[in-house]
Amino acid sequence: MKKSTRMIIGFLLLALLFLAVWLIERAMGTNSMVITVLKKGAVYALIAVSMNLLNGFTGLFSLGQAGFMLVGAYTYAVFTIPMAKRMAVYQYYQGGIIQFEIPFFLAILLAGVVAALFAALIGMPVLRLKSDYLAIATLGFAEIIRAIIQYDKLGPITNGSNLLKTYPTFTTVLFPFVVSAVCIGIILLLIHSTYGRAFKAIRDDEIAAEAMGINLFRHKQLAFVVSSFFAGVGGALLAMYQGTVQANAFKSAMTYEILLIVVIGGMGSVSGSVMASFLFIACSEWWMRFLDSELMIGTFKVPLLRSGFRMVVFSILIMLVVLFYRRGIMGDRELSFDMFRRRKGVASK
């Protein structure tokens, strides 16, 4: 198959997917479980891919994702709460000091830009650190950002530790799908460019990469900023999905969840991250729900089933993947036409 035909088929399949999603929404109604999973799955797909760009493709073990999502979510919410509602939202701060609103799509973009700016600043010191120190330092920065946003004196801007709400949210499930698809598409283009090759070189062997004239710091910085930009956009989408945001929810546990999604999908596989996101969200929000409610069969009460059991089973499953299925769903390969051809036994290449 020629490259151009492959691309056309790829786009057709994507369009078909969008159509299917749209039809499902028409058929099931906006509030059904499927739609919830699709919305949240699309948001998480973008966030997981952005994290994979760092951890899987550039080999930087960064744990700051929740911090950048937080920045994105807040930037979006702060600038889009309608003027009329500001008095009620910022009730402890006399309506806050930001007395204007911007269109939601601009705010999403701004969310990415602000997160990227934070990343550029943070990256300067931390990207010079070795792998595990980098992990702890980025985790630390996420905590610092969370503390700063909740700081009382910043209340007129961030509303302190109170909820932000009443900003525009998703009207259709197609919106997060389209935004995520565009963003993931851009990340894919970057990964397949000469810069993406340099990222992978750094992941494989830093010393050899540097000997090949690749400026380690500049390239790590680039990966970090781009990843954070999309984490910020993802944060904005998450805010839209949730309808309310509060800094306290963006704890390191959130980063861990995203990291586990990346691992399940396969470090270094974009399509793996996307599939794992939907799988993860579907499991945790939908398919395993029954584990959380008590169940009576006749007079027999099924043991163990009660609130919280779902997450226990879920984390055991994740541990099984981490221990025995370390390459995840896709390893470092991508979903492609060749894969299916090879499966059918047709010689490839």
């Binding site: 010191p125 905590e143 700081y151 609130s307 059991f309 984390s315 541990m319 221990l323």
Partner: protein
């Protein structure tokens, strides 16, 4: 000022001692496996819950040693189940496994407790108030630093003088060579986790006697701070971890006294980043360079 500073310093030293007991577990595991044991803070929390449930039905004289035994068993089991199978895997995989264990332990504890905070039992002697000058404090505040120092001196002696200590030093210096010299790597690593969990259990008794309620995620923050303390002192160094923990405990309480409670956690991480930038090897750490 002085009447505010004294209790502040007292609780700083006390919190520092509790961090120190956790930090030693981090620093020893890191020294040997080059692994940030993200689950260590959750083992500390688990020790708290063991106490809550055991003390409900057993007298303290029984439940206290049982808590320590169970915590040690948990630490040992975590190593055997989640880290040992990954001995030859890339370091990132082991770290991810550690994060997975942390996630599992937190969810498990949430399930068992129903997500509610549990009241920590009162340990009579530790919780007694005594007066120091103009202020009064619990005995645990004074007892913690003393016990911390006794335990760390004992540990340092163990590592310097005993055979298992020598084996630990050998393994942390060079994993492969130590194996070739006939050292049983797995038992050395198990011993490390057992010691680390033992100290975490002791630390948890002291910590929760002070804070009195246990929640499933309460250990995460002290855990991270203890890790920072270990880095501050120079990872792999036990005296370093203890000193680092005391510094962090005291600084944190001074910040709280000055009215910036929101930033007391953030401060720890700011300290971490400053140290890593200016003295990556910490106070007592050794430089490791990669061979090209």
């Amino acid at each position: 000022m002085i009447d505010k500073l004294l209790p502040c310093l007292l609780s700083g030293v006390s919190v520092g001692g509790q961090y120190a007991l956790i930090a030693v577990g981090y620093t020893m595991v890191y020294g040997i496996l080059r692994l940030i044991n993200f689950a260590h803070g959750d083992i500390f929390t688990a020790a708290g819950f063991f106490m809550v449930y055991l003390a409900a039905s057993l007298p303290l004289s029984l439940s206290l040693p049982l808590v320590i035994l169970l915590t040690v068993a948990l630490g040992f089991a975590v190593e055997r189940v989640a880290y040992k199978p990954l001995r030859s895997a890339p370091r990132m995989s082991v770290m991810i496994s550690a994060i997975g264990v942390s996630y599992l332990l937190q969810n498990l504890m949430w399930y068992i407790t129903g997500g509610l905070a549990k009241q920590y039992p009162v340990i009579p002697w530790l919780s007694t108030s005594i007066a120091i000058g103009p202020t009064s404090t619990k005995i645990v505040t004074l007892f913690t630093p003393v016990l911390t120092i006794i335990l760390s001196v004992a540990l340092v002696t163990l590592i310097r003088r005993t055979k298992i200590g020598m084996a630990m030093r050998a393994v942390s210096r060079d994993f492969e060579t130590a194996r070739l010299m006939g050292i049983k790597i797995d038992s050395v690593i198990s011993a490390t986790f057992i010691i680390g969990s033992f100290l975490a259990a002791v630390g948890s008794v002291l910590y929760f006697s002070n804070y009195t309620s246990v929640t499933p995620t309460i250990g995460a923050m002290p855990g991270l701070k203890a890790f920072v303390a270990a880095v501050f002192g120079g990872i792999g160094s036990i005296p370093g971890a203890v000193i680092g923990a005391f510094v962090i405990g005291i600084c944190e309480n001074i910040i709280k006294m000055l009215g910036y409670t929101t930033f007391s956690d953030a401060f720890t991480f700011a300290l971490l980043i400053v140290i890593l930038l200016f003295k990556p090897t910490g106070l007592f750490g050794e430089k490791i360079s990669e061979k090209v």
